[in-house]
Structure formats: C-alpha cells, structure tokens
C-alpha cells in the first residue's frame, strides 16, 4: 500500500535529456565541432597535411598562398599549411598536458583542504597568496628558467604554478557543498572521510572546476605558444604555433601569412574550448 495515489509527475518526465539540451545550444555545438576537428587534426596530421612539414625546398622559399600551398611556404620552403596542421598535435597535447596534472593535484588538495580546514587550510591560504600574487606568465618563465627550455619542463612549470587556481576553486565549492545536509548525513551515517569527500562532495563540487578546465585549456595553448614564441617551450624546428609565429616574425611585412595563420589557429582553437566551457556549465548542473 504505497502512498503514491497521485504520482507527482515531475518536470523531468517531459524535460529533454542532456543530449537534447546540448544539441539545442548553438554555441556549445560549434565549440564541439571545432575541438572535434582539432582533435582529428592532432591525431592524424599526416592524413590531412598535404606535405611533409619538414621537407625543405630552397626553390620554393617564401611563396605567397596559392593552390599548391594554401598557406604559402616559409623561409625554408616548407609548406606552411602542413606545418600548421602538424602543430595541432603539439598544441592540442599542450592543452591537455599543461592542465590535467594541475587539475588533478588542485582537485585533490582543494577537496582535502576544504573538508578538513584547520591548520592545513591556513597554510594553503598562504601558499595561494604567494603564488597568485605574481603574474602567471612571469612565474612560469621563472620556473622554466630554472629547469631549462623544452616542452616537458614547460608542462612541469605550468603545473607547479597552475594547480593553486584549481585548488582554490575546488576548496570553495567543497565548502559550499558541505553546507548541505547530505554531507552531514554522511558523517552521521558513519561514512569514512574518504568516502564523503570523493564519493559525495567531489562529484557535486567539481562542475565549476570542469568548466574552468575548459577555459584553462584555451589559456594553456596561449601560454604554451607564448613560451614557444619566446623559445622557452617547444623548440624549432618543431612545428608549434608559437614557434611558427616566431619563425615568421622577421617577415611580417613580406610574408605576413607565416605568422598570421598559426595565430588564427590559436584563436579558433581557444574559442572552441571557451564555447564548450560556456555550454558545459548549464549541462553539468544537477537537475532539480
């Protein structure tokens, strides 16, 4: 004998599924398409690139865009389009590797600090203050200066500096979630701290962090390219957008396409991540 004489038909029965909601957001879908395509280029560059990006042809130096070379050729006769395409591998990799470790460390530290508070929180607060006082780029460059240039060191540098931003965000969300009675209920049920933090609080607290991650990936590409431009990240002759821009900078007036095209690639990819981030905020929110 159940007390459901009137089943309150809640909105969810007539509400669209998350997938349907996603399809209705043009911005989000554009972002998905951009990043989807970018990922394809990153994983299968040789399939899409018409030429070998490292093939040097002194006879075809600094040619303007044409049918044979849609993005022209650079100072060594290499096809610019192929180089931009091959750079996708490095730059997309950058988006992931420069962020995912900072994300993981930040989420764990933020969750622990947000849950336990106390002395750990005070120390964390001071560490955060110390790190965010400095401009992000300056700190990263400082760390790279210590470690030496190169992609791996660049990832380490960005992670070492960037994790605090994730941690701060996570900590705030966890503290907010702890105001909910389900967290207290978990404690009263005798659940272990680990279970409460990772099984209950984390999934509910992580949405803003994921959204921030998307934006951070766009920023990572910008940052990585900047470092590549400065010669502190990827090293020439590796095809990387920042390196490509740097290579083309002496020819801005004569072969302007060499620096412009990689720049456009950065903008479009960054835009793609941002659009996804915007749409995700709505989609990931728990219903009701």
């Amino acid at each position: 004998m159940t007390d459901s004489t009137v089943t309150t038909v809640k909105a969810s029965k007539v509400a669209p599924s998350r997938l349907q909601l996603a399809l209705r957001k043009p911005g989000f879908m554009i972002g998905v398409i951009i990043i989807g395509f970018s990922t394809l280029l990153a994983v299968f560059p040789s399939f899409f690139a018409p030429y070998d990006p490292n093939f040097i042809d002194y006879l075809a130096v600094r040619q303007a865009p044409s049918w044979a070379h849609p993005f022209g050729t650079d100072m060594l006769g290499r096809d610019a389009l192929s180089r931009v395409i091959h750079a996708y591998s490095v730059n997309m990799q950058m988006a992931v590797l420069a962020t995912v470790f900072a994300l993981t460390i930040g989420v764990v530290v933020g969750a622990l600090v947000g849950y336990y508070r106390g002395v750990a929180d005070m120390i964390f607060g001071r560490v955060v203050d110390a790190i965010i006082t400095f401009p992000f780029l300056v700190l990263v460059i400082a760390v790279v200066a210590v470690l030496g240039p190169g992609l791996i060191n660049m990832y380490i540098a960005i992670t070492v500096v960037g994790w605090v931003y994730y941690a701060r965000l996570m900590r705030a969300e966890v503290i907010a979630q702890m105001g909910n009675d389900y967290a207290s209920a978990g404690i009263v049920m005798g659940y272990s701290d680990r279970r409460i933090i990772f099984r209950h609080l984390l999934p509910n607290a992580i949405t803003p962090v994921i959204v921030y991650w998307m934006t951070d990936m766009a920023l990572a590409i910008l940052l990585g390219s900047s470092l590549g431009y400065l010669g502190l990240g990827a090293q020439p002759p590796q095809a990387e957008w920042g390196v490509l821009i740097s290579e083309g900078r002496n020819f801005i007036t004569t072969a302007w396409w060499l620096s412009l095209m990689p720049g456009i690639a950065i903008v479009i990819t960054g835009l793609g991540f941002s659009l996804i981030g915007d749409g995700l905020a709505d989609l990931l929110r728990p219903r009701g």
Binding site: D3, S4, T5, V6, T8, V9, K10, A11, V14
Partner: protein, 329 residues
C-alpha cells in the same frame, strides 16, 4: 459579500509559460474586500496564493500573463500601465513579504529606506519625513526609534526587521495591505506580536488586509473571511468561523482534520492521501478529485466552479459536505 468593496477581484487568471508548456498558476480567483476587512488566502505549496497577491499588484506581469479583473476603488488595475501602477503601489496599496532580510536593502540604513518611501509617495519635506519615519518606527513598536534610524537591517533581529518592513509599507498610509506569509519565518512568540500589530494598525488606519498564509491557526486568529486555495483555484470561501468550523469542501475539511488537535496522542493522524499536484500535470476535471473521498464520475471530467451555497459562502465542488445546523447564517 460586502457593500462597498474597496478591492474586487474577478476571475483572475495568471499563467506562466515554461517553453511550450503553460502553467496555470492562478485560475478564476474571485473575491471582494471591504474597508477594514481582513481576508485570508490559505493553501499549501502550489496553491497559487502568493501568485494571486502578486497578480493583484501587477508584479506577476513580467513573468506571466494575467487575465481577469482587479478593481481597486473602481480603477481597473490589470490594464494599467507600469507608470500608473507605480503611483498606486506604496501609496495606496502596500505589500510585505515573508523574508524581511531579502526584502530590505542590506546596504541602506533603515532610516533611508523609510524616508525614501515617504519621498516617493508623499509631499513631506525633509524634516517632516524624518519625523514621520521616527513616528512609524515607534508605532510599530521599535524601542528608541530615533536612535535606530541610522542602523542597517542586519543589526535588527528577525521580528524587528519585520516591524521595520511594516513601517516602510505603511509609511504613506495605504488603504490596502497585501501580506505574503509575513510571520512564517518568525518564532511563535514573535509571530503573535506581529500579527497583533498588523491587526491593530489595520484597525487604526481603516486598512483592508489580504493575508496569505499556510497556517490555519493564523487564519483563525486574524482573518474575518478566508479563501481556501488548491492548485490555483479557490475551493472554498466565506466567513472564517463558518469555513473553519463547518467546512463544506472536502479539501478544507481534510486540512482541518490533518492538524493534530483533539486527537488522542500518538495515534495515526488523519491525512489527505496523496500530494498536491504539480502545475505541470494538473488532472482533468477537479484538481482535488484524485485525493478526494467524495469524488464521483463528474469530478474526473468537469471542473466545478465557485458557487454560492449559502449567503456569503461559496465552494467549488460537485459534492460539497452537508451543512450542519450551525451553518445557518
């Protein structure tokens, strides 16, 4: 119901749209209010009582469509422009809300909020406004009123804040007070004080009051007449004594019986089975039929309209409960 009503609501309907669906929050609500009369609107969540109040003042217009008629002292409010309505709000009709912390501006002092209202709705000069502000605070029972003009809402306790809100609402001496659950968030001892205050002021200022609440006790103690609402409609209406002591609608009766009163302790309480319907899925026919023990076949398909069953007594039911001898007048 009254000879010279100051407020006449007739077939008020407010509909909100959520995407393609239309949510009928208020349907065909009609009542009239005389000078100095206290009318209660009582119901549970989803009954439409708060939306009714807001629709009267035109506050619901930005979210939904309001149809029907609301006549205030002969003027039709539903067709008025925002500009015209603004002249009436605060000066002739005032409203107070449930949560004083969110309806008072936390960044302005209490004195500023009071004088602001006076500036908008009266012609008083600055000194006169200040004096009136102190007078109002005093009138609502705030001790040392003059010294508290410069304080901020957070420096007052819940009950005091509610008094401040009443002071602001009544500063321009309106003729109608709309009160949306004014004491729900307050403790019992404070609640009694605030309700007494509202009644006292209503009496002094010959003000009509429409009081929205879910608490039948509050209705019993403060209202002259009451409208019981369910799923957006009025299901029963009349003199408070009659409605509460001899309810004619099964829902009213169910509500009264659910209250643990004169029941042997620790026994099963009477409860109306089921839950109030969601606005997204209102049943056809009478909205209460799925939970009603007196429901018949007509109830599933047709909606009962509000009808007189005795002078001054109305109910919307195909099978109203029988009248008793006391229910004569």
């Amino acid at each position: 119901m009254t000879d010279h009503p100051i407020l006449e609501v007739e077939n008020l309907c407010t509909t909100f749209s959520r995407g393609d669906t239309a949510l009928p929050a208020v349907r065909d609500v009609s009542f009239s209010l005389g000078k100095g009369q206290v009318q209660g609107l009582v119901g549970e969540s989803g009954s439409g009582k708060s939306v009714t109040l807001r629709s009267i003042l035109g506050l619901a217009r930005q979210y939904g469509e309001v149809r029907g008629s609301v006549r205030w002292q002969g003027q039709e409010l539903t067709t008025m422009s925002e500009r015209q309505l603004r002249k009436i709000r605060g000066r002739e009709i005032a409203m107070i809300f449930q949560e004083p912390m969110t309806s008072l501006n936390p960044l302005l002092t209490v004195g500023t909020q009071l004088t602001e209202t006076l500036k908008a709705h009266t012609d008083l000069g600055r000194k006169a406004r200040r004096d009136r502000a102190i007078e109002m605070l005093d009138h609502v029972g705030i001790p040392a009123a003059a010294s508290r003009l410069g304080e901020y809402p957070h420096q007052f306790s819940g009950g005091m804040r509610q008094r401040v809100m009443i002071a602001i609402a009544l500063a321009a001496s309106p003729k109608l007070l709309l009160a949306d659950e004014p004491t729900t968030a307050l403790d019992a001892t404070i609640q009694a004080q605030i309700l007494d205050l509202i009644l006292k002021l209503a009496d002094e200022m010959s003000m009509g009051v429409v009081l929205v609440t879910h608490d039948l006790g509050v209705v019993a103690q403060t209202c002259d007449t009451v409208s019981v609402m369910y799923a957006g409609r009025v299901v029963e209406q009349g003199d408070v004594r009659q409605v509460l002591q001899t309810p004619r609608h099964p829902y009213t009766e169910g509500l009264m019986r659910s209250v643990p009163q004169d029941v042997p302790p620790r026994t099963q309480l009477y409860s109306v089975p089921g839950t109030p319907p969601s606005l997204f899925s209102l049943p056809e026919g009478c909205a209460f039929a799925p939970r009603c023990q007196a429901a018949g076949p007509a109830c599933q398909t047709a909606r009962p309209m509000l009808q007189d069953i005795a002078p001054g007594r109305q109910t919307a039911c195909f099978h109203p409960l029988p009248a008793t001898q006391d229910d004569a007048a």
